[in-house]
Symmetry: C2
């Protein structure tokens, strides 16, 4: 059995911990926490072993009556692979420690491709990463783009992709982030970094992205324009998305005309935290005019990368090929 640790138990870390726990071919050895906040208490209630990422805080954990199993170094001794879910930019600094410990590591999209060396998306390049030591799962936005660009690239020749990414300003619990009543070009330059980030997994695709922030917390929204070098019909696209893993079609006319209504649908699915792991494509938005494909999609920023993290474990630890892993992950997590 392969043992997995999670470093950082925040928005992504807690979700990945729960998802790893659902798998039969790997075992969650423990998670790290920096401070004994409500999430630490809930991790303990879940029966997760808690390791301190900052051993100087031991007394705080004692005072909070949260039992710790040791420090992050102790965790590293017990595991085959660590999933780093620390805040943006921190992960790359941890890489050396993982190397010293002789464990494999998965990082999140906040780290740069250059520092980690490899980037990962299940649909786009799982098999290229089998047996690798270190990999980063690309960010929620890049994952969203890869999820729908990959199937299109399978049925058509893509000449150029243009995408405008309308990003949520903050996650629902981030009370100190904005904007409240403003549209913020972010970055204010063109192109944004998302295009090059897509190219780290979809090599050679010609893509130009523009990104902005808006005052909402629920989901990102993408406006995608794909110039094609081959003929394609709207029905081909609908059918291809319909059969693609982790992509769902939603209809505005059925009451799913906004990100808020899509999250209401996710609530009704009854999943933990009401997460929507799938990328939702608005069926009505799919159009082809003058050999150019247009569509709009929504991305649940807190959860779409969670199944990719599980698959990345299997790729790095050679627990199966992409079809095997995607199928196991989807089945265990109830992905549509």
């Amino acid at each position: 059995m392969k043992y997995i640790g999670i470093n950082g138990y925040g928005t992504i870390g807690k979700r990945v911990a729960d998802a790893i726990s659902l798998q039969k071919d790997m075992k969650l050895a423990g998670v790290t926490k920096r401070t004994p906040n409500f999430e630490a208490k809930m991790a303990a209630d879940n029966g997760y072993n808690i390791y301190m990422s900052d051993p100087t805080k031991e007394q705080l954990f004692e005072e909070a009556d949260i039992k710790v199993a040791g420090t992050i170094d102790d965790l590293q001794d017990k595991i085959d692979l660590i999933i780093d879910c620390t805040p943006e930019g921190v992960g790359a600094k941890n890489l050396k420690s993982y190397q010293r410990a002789g464990i494999k590591a998965i990082f999140q999209g906040g780290e740069s491709h250059k520092e980690i060396g490899r980037s990962f998306n299940s649909a786009a390049n799982y098999d290229e990463n089998i047996g690798a030591d270190y990999v980063r799962v690309v960010s929620c936005n890049t994952t969203g783009l890869c999820r729908t660009l990959t199937p299109i690239a399978e049925i058509a020749k893509i000449r150029k992709v243009r995408a405008v990414l309308v990003r949520r300003g903050a996650d629902p619990s981030q009370v100190n982030k904005g904007p409240i009543n403003s549209i913020v070009p972010n970055p204010p330059i063109t192109p944004s970094h998302h295009g090059p980030d897509v190219q780290t997994v979809l090599k050679g695709v010609n893509i130009f992205t523009i990104a902005l922030l808006v005052p909402t917390t629920l989901m990102h929204q993408h406006n995608i324009m794909i110039e094609l070098d081959s003929k394609l019909e709207i029905d081909d696209v609908v059918n291809k998305f319909g059969e693609s893993s982790r992509v769902i079609l939603v209809d505005a006319k059925n009451g799913l005309g906004s990100t808020a209504e899509i999250m209401e649908y996710a609530n009704d699915l009854g999943r933990l935290r009401s997460d929507l792991y799938e990328i939702a494509v608005w069926r009505e938005s799919i159009n082809i005019v003058d050999n150019e494909l247009y569509y709009m999609q929504a991305v649940h920023q807190e959860s779409d990368v969670v199944p990719e993290n599980v698959d990345a474990v299997r790729a790095l630890l050679e627990l199966g090929d992409s079809n095997v892993s995607i199928s196991k992950t989807n089945q265990s997590m109830g992905i549509l």
Copy 2:
């Protein structure tokens, strides 16, 4: 002297009334009000003659102690031209009444091009509309697109325009409109109607638009991608926008990195209602890659069409050519 009436004294009507009052070559004969609300009181305080668009409400005006000069029919008898600022779809129904009264009329972008027959933007097609009887000033979003596409078309050959319009959900005072925390593809189909609307004034331009609503009240934001059939440098674009009427360049690095900060700048300009008549283009966003021009701009939805309404009066009443009118309007309104 030419006499002008305003039918509807709401968001656009009150602004147009104030702008007409500033002109020396036309005179505001009066404005219509349906109900004696705070705006009616303020119009009376401004010394504007108030005409009832619904004569059955005379008693309400009496009770509110607002003096009325007559009904809309009385107003129509006194004027050469009426500017219809009634809610979307109402204007076209008023057209016959204006025809019977033998007065020229200007409509807003909520009416369809087909029903009015002519569409207007000062930069794009003023001179085509000289002497016309009826014209619609295109909507705030279409005006924003025309303001920057026209100068680009003057210095380059445009092959295709793609634009994603991130629209404010409601005006600041519209307390019953949403969205509050959601991104809404609006329409959920592609393309949106804005492209064809641009074509009513910029004939023959190949343009595809996608539109959505976000939870903000301040400004629309546009992401514009222009494939060029001729060579162009970034500096050419910066210089051209810099000398274009009703277009301003703003720098994110100077603290103008969002629609909220741009409206703060408009506040500081000290204009009535803190309006920003100009289209604000983020200088840093202007880029040319592979012969395609990219830029982002912000549009103050409540006021950008106001100077166009003034110019449309001069076009229809043959009070001067486009250069004369734009210059008079800009000077009187303090437009940058």
